[in-house]
Amino acid sequence: MNRSTLSRVSAPAWRNAAGIALIAVLLFAVAPAVLSPFRLDLLAKYLCWAIVAVGIGLAWGRGGMLVLGQGVFFGLGAYAMAFHLKLEQAGPGGVPDFMGLYAGGQMPGWWEPFRSGPFTLLVILVLPPLVAAIVGYAVLKRRVKGAYFAILSQALAAAFAILLIGQIKVTGGFNGLNNFTTFFGYNLFLPENRLMLFQICSTILVLSLVLMALLYTSRFGELLIASRDAEERVRFLGTDPANVKLVAFVIAAFLAGIGGAMFVPVVGIVSPSNVDAVASIGLIAGAALGGRAALFGPAVGAVAVGFAQSRLSETFPGAWSYFQGALFVFIILLLPGGLASLTEKIGGLRRRRSPARPTQVEVAA
């Protein structure tokens, strides 16, 4: 990894605070005023991805772990929420409609607790980080890193999607779960409730940005970057970099789970195609575009990618694949620090006058 392209020190606290305040104003005041309900709904969907991307920024940008399996944690949160919404729709004692189709109207016993809203919320908040802690502990403690880590996390997402498709009786299989009517008692079709969903997503995103700003300027944030750039040295200094990375990985999973859970009421469907290996890599795209190591890069990038995806697939179906492909090639190849590094690069060029190559600092493995 080229260290010079990724930021090593955090921006001053006042700049972080100002940026978060600006985003909050944009989300809570400007967006509802200028966007049609339809566009606002779409923006809420991008915000769900942005919440996931903030976590990816922590794990990948700051921690150097290419997390290609975020779809798993996204999916755990999403399916837990979907179970609850299906049961809510079915009413007390009822059985979700799709089970009549695939499972002969039989509901497995372990679905029963999902009737309870608080239980569902607990699962959403606890299960993804718990799974991440187990997987991460096994992988990171054995010093599996770099390419191995990326491939394993991707395989995890693939296995998860195949499992979801296979367990059609409880997951709706390939088609996933859809046709939700209410969200904790609120009618999902009423405009004021759609606005409320948008506001919930905005609040979560702003809070997660605050969390990141605090983490990045803390000792933990410095240790995480140190673990990314010089793992051996961190180890020699008496800190186990695996622990530091593990915490980042678990927080990233926590955010992915919440993003997934909000995705379900906002979009109205969750299916294996939202969580599989390709979708998991797709979640990376936003963070890459915005700037993986910057505080606001991943979130802003995720919204931009979501916006581009909607626009492009509205006008030219199929063009999205080309665009997403080209995005990866150009951003990673030419601008590994994402758009966030653009200002720095331009400034650097102006200072040096001659467009010399950036110094390639290789990281000792």
Partner: protein, 293 residues
């Protein structure tokens, strides 16, 4: 007896396909620390090559023509990828993964636009249609052909790497790039050759895959992760590790499928590889001379 032999033979033939696909990947992965996600799309290109060759060459010969053509098509795509993108990204293995994933997305959509989304069927030649009796079990000749082909590919590749001067320069580059260069080995040439051969093998894997399934734009995606797992479990850049891991994965998977079902087996396979990497984080055989970031 059947309960044992059937999954064993199925596993061997799954393993052969995995082996062909993984052989090229382990070569390019081990050589340059480059993770080529577009390898799956090179496999797809090989399969479409078989489909196109069939339109020109009579059925009985088309497979034999498609194999070398598929090798060249895959190889050239690999060369092109190396020359345009990958050569700028040495020592950034994680980034090559994302870049080549992007290339893969583009190639998939290209295939969808050229050939259409529905899967295409390639007819197997007549001389592969029979069955052979092995241990009282009727085994399709086409499956045996795939296994034989995979083993021949392993043999040829091993021989080329061991005995030819080009193979020696490739191995020298893998083991210590800087030292090899100091000794006058053209590492650029070694890189390009490796990529040509590795991607060419993907093309061959694609041609062979048309014997067992249909050809669609998502063909590569459905194989690439299994293939990566084979490479990781076998130890990156290790041909013998890849051979053992491919057959091992294929056989274990088909036994698991028999014991449970397809989707549970897939998840279990992941858990097994995961546990295996707990014991041997670097795969079956580790490259000790260079470490991947």
């Amino acid at each position: 007896m059947d309960a044992f032999l059937t999954p064993l033979f199925t596993g061997i033939s799954i393993g052969s396909v995995l082996l062909l696909a993984a052989l090229g990947l382990t070569l390019t992965f081990g050589q340059m620390g480059v993770i080529n996600m577009a390898h799956g799309e090179f496999i797809m290109a090989g399969a479409y090559t078989a489909f196109l060759v069939q339109a020109i060459v009579p059925d009985d010969l088309s497979l034999l023509v498609a194999l070398p053509v598929g090798f060249v098509v895959g190889g050239l795509m690999g060369l092109l990828l190396e020359a345009t993108v990958i050569r700028w990204m040495y020592h950034r293995p994680l980034d090559t993964l994302l870049v080549t994933f992007g290339v893969g997305l583009i190639l998939q959509q290209l295939a969808r636009d050229i050939f259409g989304a529905p899967a295409k069927q390639v007819r197997s030649p007549g001389w592969l249609s029979g069955q052979v009796d092995i241990l009282g079990y009727q085994w399709p000749v086409s499956r045996l052909f795939i296994t034989a082909l995979a083993l021949v590919a392993v043999g040829l590749l091993t021989a080329a790497l061991t005995y030819s001067s080009l193979g020696r320069s490739i191995r020298a580059t893998v083991q210590n790039r800087d030292l090899a260069e100091t000794l006058g080995v053209s590492t650029r040439r070694a890189d390009r050759t490796t990529f040509f051969i590795g991607s060419g093998l993907a093309g061959i894997a694609g041609v062979v895959l048309t014997l067992v399934g249909s050809t669609g734009p998502n063909l590569g995606t459905s194989y690439i992760i299994d293939v990566f797992l084979v490479v990781v479990a076998g130890g990156i850049g290790q041909i013998r590790g890849t051979v053992i891991a491919a057959f091992g994965l294929g056989i274990v998977q088909s036994f698991l499928v028999q014991a449970t079902n397809g989707s549970v087996a897939k998840a279990l396979i992941f858990v097994l590889i995961f546990l295996f990497l707990q014991v041997r984080p670097q795969g079956l055989f580790a490259v000790r001379t260079r470490s991947l970031v």
